[in-house]
Symmetry: C2
Subunit: 176 residues, 2 copies
């Protein structure tokens, strides 16, 4: 089994399933004997890395830049690195792609209607009511990936199917 | 050979030899078959992680906090992590110690007279002339480590001897 590191970069709207998939994927990779798997998301980096940042465009970009730097160091050092950020801007995802080792962009796609209907955290309702400013998809843009390595349509597929798609990609490309 | 990660935290005055020793140690570890070795210092983290930070006490502390977070992730994921920062404040080094995996504090010690005499980068002269404010040892405090795992007296020993001391420690404690 290869000990090569890689970066899986999950991008997509809030509530589309990025972190849920990353957590399930982490579990699956560990079951398959991958010893070093590290997830990165807003909750994980906030305290140690980004306590000074808010949600403005500049702050989001700085957030992504720092996460990308950490993913770069981890993936270059043999770690299976799973990054979940809305990361709405194409140029910042391209920045991550340029810097990270074995970069795999995964577009976690879900239509707006489904997201608003589910609204697990109640954020979409608040954003629509104007209580959350600069909310991706409502009051802030999301630039879709042009050539992501993987697209997961989470409105139509189960968590099991999404994880299976990623695992098959990793397997086929010799990462696991 | 173990694949266990660890964090070697080099602390000490500017010019004492922290980064020089870290570079030589990195080379030696790789020669011994340690595949993943990552150095972290001010130059390495500045662009990707700390572009917003200056040299005030708060900024230095934030710098150390972020570097410590990255060292934590790397060392927990099997990487031999070599961190070189003046890191003058004891509580911040203790913060790093609490968070990083297999933390080894190395006090790179050199007396002030020798440092001022060498003054490789000309920084001490400028600091003494008041051209660099908040300079550790001149206009800013350095809190000596109380119980570092290793002390390297770089005024009296060669680079080879310093690296040998660290390698012997790692070997004796089962890290390599």
């Amino acid at each position: 089994m290869s000990e090569e590191g890689f970066t899986i970069w999950f991008t997509g709207w809030s509530g589309a399933g990025k972190t849920t998939i990353a957590i399930a994927l982490e579990e699956e990779l560990k079951k398959r004997g991958i010893r070093y798997v590290q997830r990165l998301d807003g909750d994980i980096v906030r305290e140690g890395l980004c306590s000074d940042l808010g949600f403005s465009k500049n702050d989001r970009n700085e957030n992504i830049k720092r996460a990308s730097f950490v993913a770069e160091l981890l993936s270059k050092n043999g770690v299976a690195t799973l990054v979940s950020f809305i990361s709405p801007y194409r140029n910042l995802r391209d920045y991550a792609r340029e810097n990270c080792h074995n970069f795999i962009e995964v577009y976690v796609k879900c239509d707006k209607e489904t997201l608003i209907e589910r609204d697990v955290k109640g954020l979409y309702r608040q954003a629509i009511e104007g209580k959350i400013p600069e909310f991706t998809g409502i009051s802030d843009p999301y630039e879709e990936p042009l050539n992501p390595e993987i697209i997961l349509n989470t409105a139509d597929e189960t968590l099991f199917e999404s994880v299976k798609t990623v695992i098959e990609y990793l397997d086929k490309n010799g990462y696991i």
